[in-house]
Subunit: 629 residues, 2 copies
């Protein structure tokens, strides 16, 4: 069927469902959404459940727009009259092409209203379709840039979304029914995640990351399976860490033209980390795989999806993201293939224990036949201490070091680990478990934290309540001090006892190197590792006991400060949690693939899962393809 015929059919169907008096002038696909144009948005908005009914009956995500738009000035005053002042509206932006008005507010919930009542009210008055985003409580330059950029390319983006929408809803041609997954990286290793899900109709790439500590750390992007890239229907990104997203911009350089689906925080964090990655590569004088232009192209092609939204991404594939508990916006990607043919989920990196930031990863799926599970801590000895224990140990170390007049330097990843440590320290100070001492943040940590505070709905209930209900955003606590200049950094290094959280997490560059240089010679100080140190990094060498290190060329520093490693802050499930997760996943999968772990760990986990649950398990190799069905 031609797409025009399909749209006509949908329009007729919609006209059959909407009450008399409501006119539907046009329907159009935009990305995964079906956009319904009406001359009478008021009437549409008055029917509270109408959109839900349409979405259910048509099995599509529905957006309603109108051609009867009030002029922006009037519309602004209408919005302000409907929305109460405490919403804290900071910006209103009109997009005549989509008929959307973007309302940036400190409290988006107030603009939305209960069950969307306020939004419906707005629509009724102004015609424009309101979209609400949060005003970042800590200003994030990334988010500002992303939003500005997306506004500047709105025409191009609309064309793109229409094309993608029509592509998603193309006819199914093949009579064959199968689904398979090709491993393009991340098997029996950590890093360069890239999995190709293919059916007779469609191809979807899940993640496209780098391998840390490796020179040529791309996935196997040169094999035929993913070519031509113009036929790749979509990239699905589970979370923003570089070992999952670093090479997505490269795909556009190679000819990919399709969308990248990810959660909104993943889009922002990944763009930030990709730009930082380019900086790091540039500083190391290595060949730059792509430029910031390709990062922009990626952002322009991204389609944000929230957890739980079942979304058509290809004629025979529906994607749903679920909370993965690993970092902000991290998702378990669930794929429903064909009309009930098969279901496969990729955990991405996930945490099945509750952390200070996130709820444990989802275990409930409508259907599930195959599960791809990460195995970072999949070895039988990979049992981590409980978070609470790790925190108590950190408090103890800080108390001791501060007590003896020293400084505590904590190298940490900007995204995830830093915020987890910040929350622990904020509580430690609040409850008097550690002395009231400044906690300096250096590197990208503040920017990453700003992005966290923009998306509190992605944090766990307690933290969200703390931020919303109690109005006590722990990230804004006065103990945190941003280091924003080399002079200030010098002062911190030569100043009073304190705690410093800084990047990079593995001491392979970044401001942490300055702190190390300054603090290393004094045995009163301490360097506290809270994360995994990969082979080949300075962090790893120091952990191994090296006491003299070359820093920046020939300069050698002697390591006199105390070295402490505290396990238990990981964003990954440990061995026990991985085993338990599979036991709790509903429904029980038929097949499990252990990936994203060292060779012995993926094999150990696969074999242990088989023994405990009698589920078929595989520990695939890179470049292999497995049939799902």
């Amino acid at each position: 069927m031609l797409i025009e015929e399909r749209l006509k059919e949908l329009k007729d169907k919609i006209n059959g469902i909407v009450p008399k008096g409501i006119t539907v002038s046009q329907v159009e696909f935009e990305g995964p959404e079906l956009v319904i144009y009406t001359d009478d948005p008021k009437a549409f908005a008055e029917q509270a459940d109408l959109i839900k009914v349409l979405a259910r009956d048509l099995r599509k995500r529905i957006v309603v727009r109108t051609n009867n738009l009030k002029d922006p000035e009037t519309a602004v005053s209408e919005i302000k009259s409907v929305v109460t002042e405490n919403a804290g509206i900071t910006d209103i932006f009109f997009d005549a092409d989509t008929g959307e008005v973007l309302i940036e507010a400190e409290k988006p919930g107030v603009v939305i209203g209960k069950n969307g009542a306020t939004l419906r009210e707005i629509t009724k008055h102004i015609g424009w379709t309101p979209k609400v985003v949060r005003t970042p409580p800590i200003e994030s330059s990334t988010i500002k840039q992303v939003r500005q950029y997306l506004r500047s390319v709105k025409d191009e983006r609309k064309t793109f979304l229409r094309a993608i929408g029509r592509r998603i809803h193309r006819d199914i041609i093949s009579k064959d029914q199968w689904a398979r997954v090709t491993m393009l990286g991340c098997c029996r290793e950590v890093g360069r995640a890239a999995f190709l899900l293919s059916t007779p109709e469609s191809k979807v790439l899940i993640d496209c990351g780098e391998k840390p500590g490796s020179n040529n750390g791309t996935p196997y992007l040169y094999v035929s399976e993913i070519y031509p890239l113009t036929q790749l229907d979509a990239v699905v990104l589970t979370h923003a860490h570089l070992d999952h997203c670093a090479y997505i911009p490269l795909l556009y350089k190679y000819g990919f033209e399709g969308p990248v689906y990810c959660t909104p925080p993943t889009r922002d964090l990944s763009a930030m980390l990709q730009l930082d990655y380019l900086e790091v590569v540039r500083k190391e004088n290595e060949k730059i795989p792509y430029t910031s232009n390709e990062v922009k192209t990626y952002v322009r092609h991204s389609i944000p999806l929230n957890y739980g939204n079942v979304t058509d991404i290809a004629p025979d594939i529906k994607l749903t993201f679920h909370n993965a508990g690993h970092i902000l916006g991290s998702a378990v990607a669930h794929f429903h293939i064909g009309d009930g043919l098969y279901n496969v989920a990729f955990t991405g990196d996930f945490n099945y224990s509750k952390s200070r930031l996130f709820s444990p990863a989802t275990t409930q799926f409508p259907r599930l036949e195959a599960l791809f599970i990460e195995s970072t801590y999949g070895g039988s000895n990979d049992v981590q201490p409980a978070r609470r224990e790790a925190e108590e140990r950190l408090y103890q170390v800080i108390k001791t070091v501060i007590g003896r007049g020293g400084k505590v330097v904590i190298p940490a990843f900007a995204v995830g680990r830093s915020q987890e440590v910040m929350l622990a320290l904020e509580e430690g100070i609040r409850l008097g478990k550690i002395p009231k001492t400044p906690i300096y943040l250096d590197g990208m940590i503040r920017e990453a934290t700003a992005i966290h505070t923009t998306y509190p709905e992605y944090l766990n209930n307690e933290l969200r309540n703390q931020i919303f209900r109690e109005g006590m955003n722990p990230f804004l606590a006065e103990c945190f001090v941003q280091v924003d200049s080399p002079d200030f950094r010098e002062k911190v290094i030569s100043g009073d006892p304190c705690v410093v959280i800084t990047t990079s997490g593995m001491l392979n560059g970044g401001p942490v190197m300055e702190y190390l240089k300054g603090c290393a010679p004094d045995a009163k100080n301490a360097l506290v590792f809270v994360g995994y140190q990969a082979e080949g990094t300075f962090g790893r060498r120091i952990q191994k006991g090296w006491r003299e290190l070359p820093i920046g060329g020939r300069e050698m520093i002697r390591i006199e400060l105390e070295i402490v490693t505290i396990d238990g802050f990981s964003g990954h499930s440990d061995r026990r949690e991985l085993m338990n997760y599979v036991g709790h996943v509903q429904p029980r999968p038929e097949k499990i693939f252990t990936i994203h772990g060292d060779e012995n760990k993926t094999i150990d986990l696969a074999s242990s899962l088989y023994k405990r649950y009698h589920i078929e398990t595989h520990s695939p190799l890179n470049l292999e393809t497995y049939r799902m069905i």
Copy 2:
């Protein structure tokens, strides 16, 4: 390195090896061979071991040519003066472009001489490089056509071979080292054999057949892995049966431009069967996948290889064919990958017992890590009677039926089974085990037999000796009578007691249907099945006990004749032989993949092999890809 530089380097190396006084004017790649041009072919030919030394040192297949060519007339008389008359030269053809002279002789061995002495003598005298082919003792129109056609396209073919030669010897670019096999068909099923062997440098397709008894029986040729077809380095064809070769011409229609490697008999038999296949499809009014033009294109692109010749087919892949014992020219394809990196062999269809026609399949390989083994009779109950027993049973049936005045109709595949039965019957008559009765051959059997007699070096020692030494070609025995017209067929049907061997082997069309119609009503006659009858064929229905069948539209025939099934004539290894084969393969492989068998048989065989030999076994699925290394 540019190919010109490589050729220059080779030329310098050759000049360093050849004795002083011999000049090498040019070297060039032609297909997998390195062609050395010399002004002095005499001097070259006098050094008996020189070519061997060059081949060993350069690790290339060497051909020597000269530019000093005598005029054809003089050359013919020189050849006739060197070669003794009993060689039976029937044709001499000169190819000025390649400098080759093709000598067709009844006894090629006499033209070649001991260790090639006569050939060297010819070269010394005439400059032209002699190639010797056998004059078919029974004239085969296929072979005549193939040889004529190849002569007519020799210019094009030379250009093609040079291009392929340069392509094979291109530089190796990738630093990665891996090898994998993608299953494009023939897994957990019989038919549509197609396996893609790929490395970072190269791609080779092994077989490309149809699935018998299926409407859309192509391999999975629509998946990305084999595209673009212009980057496919080669197709390797294990043997001529249609479930292995039917869709090779289609590849050319889709854009493939490379060579097909197969043994010389496989080339001729496959072209014959492909043309017949087109006829059958046409008669059934089904869509014709390609035309005889594409069969010609295939023949033009074929590069024949004899058993045992180690041949470069890609920068990092060497192919060697070994006897498989299944049908004429059938081969086990052995691939040596990289410089000692990995070795994998595909048995194709094979027979590990000695038959009247062939030696048992090879078990000895220089190196072997992975083995793909067919599983047609891989089930634990698939034990076949010994050939001798089967023959005795056939003799018994014939004696009885002829004795009671009936006719014996034996449906058989034109290639393989027919000749096997012919040889048994010829011996039966010669030794007086069955009465002297005419054995009528109808359908393509005679043509297939003619091709067999053209390549006696592909038959087993005893049969070859019988043909060569004893001059008693059993295929020429007077008991065999070719049916060459509908009238004659009518006479046979209405005539005296006799035996008829005719196609098709499964009673899905062909002259056998006429014999069935004519002989079915008389209970004195017998229909003797000597081969597997696939589901959906008339053969299968009759075996199942149907006693009334519609033939050619609405006409019904009643089956009154005796139905006999004799197992044991199969060209496949039975279960015991499959198990024993693996035990005897040297060296012992690390991995075995069971393919080309019904689902339960491939699984049963894989599990039994693992239990007996503790070798890792897999029973892969279509569309899966396994890493070899």
